[in-house]
Amino acid sequence: MDGSVRDIAVEAENVSKIFGSGSDEVRALDDVSVGIQDNEFFTLLGPSGCGKTTLLRLIAGFDHPTKGSIRLAGQDISYLPPYRRSVNTVFQNYALFPHMTVAQNIGFGLEMQGRSRAEVRETVGNMLALVRMEALANRRTSQISGGQQQRVALARALAPRPKVLLLDEPLSALDYKLRKDMQIELKRLQHETGITFVFVTHDQEEALTMSDRIAVMSSGKILQVGSPRDIYDRPSERFVADFIGDTNFLEAEVAGKEGATARIRLASGVEVEADLPSGMADARQVTVVIRPEHAALAPAGQGELQGRIANIVYFGTDTHYHVDLDTGGQFTLRLQNPRGGRELHGEGEPVGIAFEPGALQVLRD
């Protein structure tokens, strides 16, 4: 984290949301607490059904928490109707008003806020310029393309200058090229407006490239919150490590502890240092993770692990080595291909695996 102290824009405190009752009770959110800072690009990342939309709907006011509270700039808004919150939403299907023009759509929120005609006209003009849609101001929303509708939906939600903008998988309906363009566009808009964005996606790459911070969700819980680098390099839960990128899982024993690091003994008997997640309970048996690109091949007998190359897959920028470990299990390495490099190793060859210092992370469970 950058260390600067920012104000909290939205805060959820012990929020639970339960749908239905009795045997078909669904716990869509389970005791979720999270603080989203001012002027932050914050992403909710998780698989389908984990409760991302539910959390957004609670912040927008389309639904209310079963337990806990939601605060906006310090004020409890848990039961405030949506039209009384300074929060706007970009809907997945855009939800543009089909009986209004592009400009009328963008001006709708301002009009409802009771702004003067002149102010509405000026702001709509600015917004059209911001999303580069000036030429299509008087078109019907049915007469513009999907990407253009997306921009109008963004402009409409940004025009009233909300404290927080919610975006529920806004890019999922776009094709690959357009999605890449819009990712850049969204970052630019967030930067230029300084509005807090809460962005929902189940695409890990999108989350890693766009966010200031990410909250990884699973089954109604937030498992970990952190910068993309934190989440990728220091996953604290098995689910997070598994959901984002490729990971090697190793079983190990704790041999000693020193602050935020632990000495752990691997199955091979080798002792190495590994980072501990914050607030972890004492345990003897732990799982540690290491990313495939944070280890290198070494001559047999050297490094922390020993094994035999099972197969080699060439990927252009890098090569993946799958190594059968002598102690059982498999380990994957991803090594960058140098220009003009030859295959240095062959399948079936015995090798050692050397970890980069500080590459190991202990999981909480």
């Binding site: 006011g61 389309f62 949506p82 039209y83 809907f91 008003f97 709708f108 409802m112």
Partner: protein, 260 residues
Amino acid sequence: MKRQAGFTTVAIICFVCLYAPIVVLVAYSFNAGESIAVWQGFSWRWYAAAWENEEVQRAAWLSVLVAVQASFYATVVATMAALATTRNKAFRGQTAVFALINQPLMVPEIVTGVALLIVFAMVKVATGYNGLGYLVLAHTAFCIPFAYLPIRARLEGMDLTLETAAADLYATPWKTFRRVTLPLMWPGILAGAMLAFVISLDDVVITELVKGPGQDTLPTYMLGQLRRVVTPEINAISSALLAVSVVIVSLFFLLNRKRG
């Protein structure tokens, strides 16, 4: 696909049976003679006669008066009913509500007519009121399902997130209704009103039973005339009524098509 020869034949026979009498009726409305069966040359005289006939004028005016009011009230009720049945989550007794709204489609018209006749007779005795209200009320009742169906269809096709989006953009529930829901359901409301208008305009059975003295609508007036001397004037009135219905129903279909 193979054409079913037998089916086509049957369809043609049906259409002939259905439309041939109407063609004959319209043709003889232009008869120059007094007969509705012997052609004696072309003339507009019966249209002129009908146009100048004060009884026809009065009945036509009454028909329009009743149809305008009944279709208005029916459309208002149908709009509220459609909103209640599509905008809320499924509630207990929803099927019963559907059945109630669509009741006039199921109960034989003559039964409704007799029932209304009896009840209105009681009310008349109790209140002494003898005006047009009974007819308007009766027409409103049987027009509601016709107004309801297109409005409901329109609402069901409407994206609910549009209303959520309006609320998100600071529109109060009333503003959301005024600025988003109502404009979007407007074609459905217009279509419902037109259908109700035509249904009211064409009604005979219930009107015949409910109408008070001197409250003939065009259809009941025509029915009365048929019992006396029949001249092509009746053909002319029928043709005019037919033309009005066809125009309105065509508009209705046009409106329905535009929404797609």
